[in-house]
Amino acid sequence: MNTLLRIIGWVGLALTVVPSFLFLFDALSMEKLKLAMTIGMVVWFAVAIVRSRLVPASSE
């Protein structure tokens, strides 16, 4: 469970930064960039909050 959550969290972080590179190389529009970063933010925080409740700090 922890590993799955961790992977989903990384996906959230990837959605935060990768779109900016795609925008840099004209592979993504500004609207889609903003949408992807918003989704990345929601995913990262949601997963981080769930992880902090499910996974004891000692196993981090």
């Binding site: 972080l13 935060t16 779109p19 900016s20 949408l35």
Partner: protein, 470 residues
């Protein structure tokens, strides 16, 4: 809560989950931590709300792109070296908080005075962070953003938003900040990536395909921001000194003794390079590009973080500004509250930490309503370093010339006095004239940090008697 009439470990701050342990004793071997613990902490801590302000202020000051890139590169290197070779070696030998180390040299009452200065300066710094957060929170309310001409509150809506943000931060800080510290840890990797994304998107918006083009666009942005004047008030050395000394209170000022006393080896000091090159290099340059992009696309040179972040990455940028401001203002107010509590307890022993912290939060909120503190951030952090860092000079000179680096003798020693007049004089003799020259004559604040640090250290040696054991 610290006992009445004793100053708290105000500076034991950034890793409060651990740093408030062993306040008055050396950190034991079993509690020492490897360097890995410090890398993430510094990277996250220096990606703060104020980074959104500092980069754009370089552009408004007319700093050339070369001077930003190379001045920050070398200045940040000096800051890292200052941590590594000035602060951390003492921290990993003495293993005390700044407060307790200084108390052994200067006495508890002088440390109280130092803490008061520290607390007040923290309040104004937190005020700038509240201003930064308010510019993001105000976007959905169609708030009129303050401009660099506005030193006073520019609208009722701005005051209302600042009050709401400030009171929320003050209340959370007063309740204790474990939750916010945990949230800050969660948010920091995300914030760092948002800063990076902001920089990349802004760079793309500038539309430069070569260094020459980027330089030309940058110069045009300065020209626009300065109403056609193109006058630089900061050259290479100013940027270099700013990057070196904007955290002077932490490295040469020794506030980070409290953090690095937990480090196994002095080499952990290299971890500060994560903070300097992520927060004070990448983030500042990214924020500067954001303003340049805003000038190019919207012909708007107002360096207000909320709208700037919204322009480049949308909602994620707005939330990042709020979170970055909040997660750094909160511990700052908490530390100021501890300082005020220690001061107040000398007269009113029952003053609670809640109300002391809330009072600090109120001062910060009032300061936040005055955009001048945010616009003057470059000067303010220099002043902050000029006032606080010289006490680190006392510690440094005492450690190498009086204690001869003998940690065990130092740990066994008791404070020689409860109020050291020589330390007070050594501190005030250079700092008071420097304060006058900075505040009343308009001299650049960061230029005074190193001279004041050196003079304070040398005066301390000249004015104080050698300990009997020596």
């Amino acid at each position: 809560m610290p006992p009445a009439n004793t100053p708290p470990p105000v500076e034991a701050s950034r890793s409060d989950s651990v740093a408030n342990e062993y306040e008055r004793e050396p950190v034991p071997e079993k509690s020492l931590k490897g360097a890995g613990k410090f890398w993430g902490m510094y990277a996250g801590e220096h990606a703060a709300g104020t980074e959104f302000m500092i980069g754009p202020l370089f552009l408004l000051a007319g700093v050339s792109l070369q001077n930003i890139i190379f001045g920050l590169l070398l200045g940040n290197l000096m800051a890292v070296l200052s941590w590594r070779y000035v602060c951390v070696p003492i921290a990993t030998k003495a293993r005390y908080t700044l407060y307790h180390h200084l108390e052994k040299i200067a006495g508890k009452w002088l440390v109280l005075l130092y803490n008061l200065a520290n607390g007040l300066l923290f309040c104004f710094l937190a005020g700038a962070m509240i201003t930064v957060s308010a510019t993001a929170v105000g976007i959905p309310f169609d708030m009129t953003m303050p401009t660099t001409d506005d030193w006073l509150p520019n609208s009722t809506m701005f005051v209302v938003v600042v009050l709401a943000v400030g009171l929320l931060i003050a209340t959370v800080a007063s309740l204790g900040y474990d939750t916010v510290a945990k949230f800050a840890n969660i948010a920091s990797p995300w914030m760092v990536l948002v800063f990076l994304a902001c920089g990349i998107v802004a760079f793309k918006q500038l539309g430069a395909s070569s260094w020459e083009e980027l330089n030309a666009i940058w110069s045009e942005s300065i020209l626009f921001a300065q109403d056609g004047e193109s006058e630089s008030t900061m050259g290479f050395w100013s940027v270099f000194l700013f990057a070196w000394f904007c955290n002077a209170a932490m490295h040469v000022g020794m506030a980070d003794l409290s953090v690095f006393r937990f480090a196994k080896k002095a080499s952990a000091g290299w971890a500060t390079s994560a903070g300097m090159y992520v927060g004070h290099y990448m983030a500042w340059i990214a924020a500067a590009f954001m303003l340049a992009a805003q000038i190019k696309l919207n012909q708007d040179a107002n360096p207000v973080p909320g709208p700037m972040a919204n322009n480049v990455v949308g909602l994620a940028g707005i939330i990042c500004v709020v979170v970055a401001g909040w997660t750094t203002a909160n511990p700052t107010i908490y530390r100021a509250g501890l300082a005020f509590q220690a001061m107040a307890q000398t007269i009113f022993p029952n003053v609670s930490r809640f109300w002391a912290t809330f009072a600090a939060g109120l001062i910060a909120t009032v300061a936040g309503a005055f955009p001048a503190f945010a616009w003057q951030l470059l000067g303010f952090v220099g002043l902050y370093g000029t006032i606080l860092a010289p006490m680190g000079g006392v510690i440094f000179f005492d450690w190498y010339f009086r204690q001869k680096g003998d940690a065990s003798a130092f740990q066994k020693s008791s404070p020689a006095t409860s109020f050291s007049v020589p330390v007070l004089l050594a501190w005030l003799i250079p700092v008071v004239p420097a304060f006058y020259l900075i505040v009343y004559e308009g001299y650049t604040a960061v230029n005074f940090v190193l001279p004041c640090w050196l003079i304070t250290g040398v005066l301390y040696l000249l004015l104080s008697k050698k300990p009997a054991a020596a």
